[in-house]
């Protein structure tokens, strides 16, 4: 499903950057949760907007998914999406300072808080490798409890050539069960910026 958004060299560089960035992210998250975090080796893939639901369904086998989106900007502009399975991240409520009986709006807020930690740690890690600053918009719920195909319903207005670089990372905490995947999506007009950033990285290597 390669769209050739990046050259092979750039792709390898991104993979490398993601590896290092996620290592740092894992350490930051472990510090926040005060618990050992197991992170899968990030997998970098490309998918067109139309292939996204299928790609996400691949990542998480659950029948209904919940997703939180958060914009990032700086040298590279795009959106990060964190996709949760059916149980969301209820298991993390205690770690995040919530009481044990979550109300509906608290459950949403918890999702936003957890997503914010993951997005800022992971993107921050990557941005650091690229020697770039990154800022974040407030996160918001993209869709909750919908089948994979419904996740991007409201995204259909996006330009057809919007490509997504999916950086897939799976998280596991030692004493809590929860899984999520992170997608980093870049619009077509941001591809130039990331390519240049990767080229700079390669030049300094």
């Amino acid at each position: 499903m390669s769209l050739n958004l990046l050259t092979e060299e750039q792709n390898e560089a991104l993979q490398e950057i993601a590896n290092i960035g996620m290592g740092r992210a894992g350490r930051s998250i472990a510090g926040v949760f005060d618990e050992f975090v197991e992170l899968s080796v990030p997998r970098v893939r490309e998918a067109g907007l139309d292939r996204l639901p299928a790609a996400v369904a691949d990542l998480i086998p659950d029948e209904t998914l919940t997703a939180v989106r958060q914009g990032f900007f700086g040298r590279v502009r795009g959106e990060a999406i964190v996709v949760f399975g059916i149980t969301g991240c209820r298991d993390l409520a205690g770690l995040m300072g919530y009481g044990s009986a979550l109300e509906d709006c608290e459950e949403d807020e918890l999702l936003l808080d957890v997503s914010n930690v993951i997005v800022s740690a992971c993107l921050g890690g990557i941005a650091e490798q690229l020697n770039a600053d990154v800022c974040f918009s407030a996160p918001s719920v993209l869709a909750s409890h919908v089948p994979p195909a419904g996740l991007f319903d409201r995204t259909s207005a996006a330009p057809a050539d919007t490509g997504a670089l999916i950086v897939e990372v799976n998280f596991r905490l030692e004493r809590h069960s929860f899984a999520c995947s992170l997608l980093m999506m870049l619009p077509a007009d941001s591809m130039g910026a990331i390519r240049r950033a990767l080229d700079d990285f390669l030049a300094n290597f």
């Binding site: 995040m96 300072g97 808080d113 930690v117 800022s120 740690a121 921050g124």
Partner: protein
Amino acid sequence: MERFEPDMTAGQRLIDMVDVGVFAVDRALCVRSWNAFMVAHSGLGRQAAIGRSIFDLFSDLPRGWLEKKFERVFALGAPSFTSWEQRPWLFRIPHNRPITGGVDCMQQDTRFIPLKDEHGEAVLVLVCVFDVTDAALLHRRLAETVSALEAERSEQQTLIARLAEAQEQLIQSEKLAAIGQLAAGVAHEINNPVGFVMSNFGALERYIERAFALIAAYDRQLDQLPPAVQADMAQMKADIDYDFMADDARSLVAESRDGLERVKRIVSDLRDFSRVGETEWQWASLHNCLDSTLNVVMNEIKYKAQVVKDYGDLPQIECMPFQLNQVFLNLLVNAAHAIDGQGAITLRTRLEGDSVVVQFSDTGCGMPPEVVKRIFDPFFTTKPVGKGTGLGLSVTHSIVGRHRGSIAVDSTPGQGTTFTLRLPLRQTSA
């Protein structure tokens, strides 16, 4: 990312001008700066705020949760957020719509932005409080409108379903009316032949009696005849089994008369009952109405319930008898349906002042209060499709209303139900 500068005067002036609450806190969550927006809206001056813990300044902050949130901002060096949608407000600050708002304090989005020193370590967190009260109010009003519309829509959908049911019911009652008309016609047609058969039968009865009397008279003169003739007669009587025949003929006649009487009664009940569409006020005996309705539904009742009549002395009342028949029919059928196995239905009538009281008591299943509350609602039924339409009692209620009467129900689950009808003797304005 913003860097913390010790000399903030220029920045402070800028920050004072923005229409956003901005203040900085250190790791101990004590306030280190406090902009003009915060002074104006929180009512706390700079002197009062700076140096104090935010938990002293805002006593109703969710402490454990917020401490964790700040910890994360310091640890990750990345911003954190709250949104009014999940958390309408974090800092209790009055808003700018004390009169027209209808919310208790400023609705807000907040940002927690780490301020880093030259080593990249977060040393302060800048808290930004955005007043989104107007947008939140608008959004909430919109959401209310949407949910009202949705409720209306689903109400409409049930109404449409009810309309379909009502149409079905209309067709059903059209059919019933046609059947009633047919029954009235048939009853009328049968009434004539039954009438002349009855009168012929009366004559026949008398003729037979007289013929037997004649034979008896002959018998008394039998010894006047020659012995040979006497023997012949005796032989003939023995051959035709005359004694049995004479006896049986009388009981055949009596039984047939009984049967004819019954046919006549059923035909006349059917005719009374099916006077379709009759809306004339007339003086009628409620006991006659009750009895003719009972005859019509007896088939449905007789295997389940014993019918006990406890009739008082009633004058005729001014009513629409056909409509009252329909009321009695509904109540009797409901009572029979309520009885599982064997039971009793008691009909009690009394005169009380200017009205008559008719009571239907059954020993059936009874009803819990939440059912009783709804039984007069059209389409309310607890019976399976095909057995109940849920219209019986609502029609009953409107007929009783038309008679300026009342209907009351008293029911005990597991024991039985009593419906009490009260009808005025006369319709004053009719």
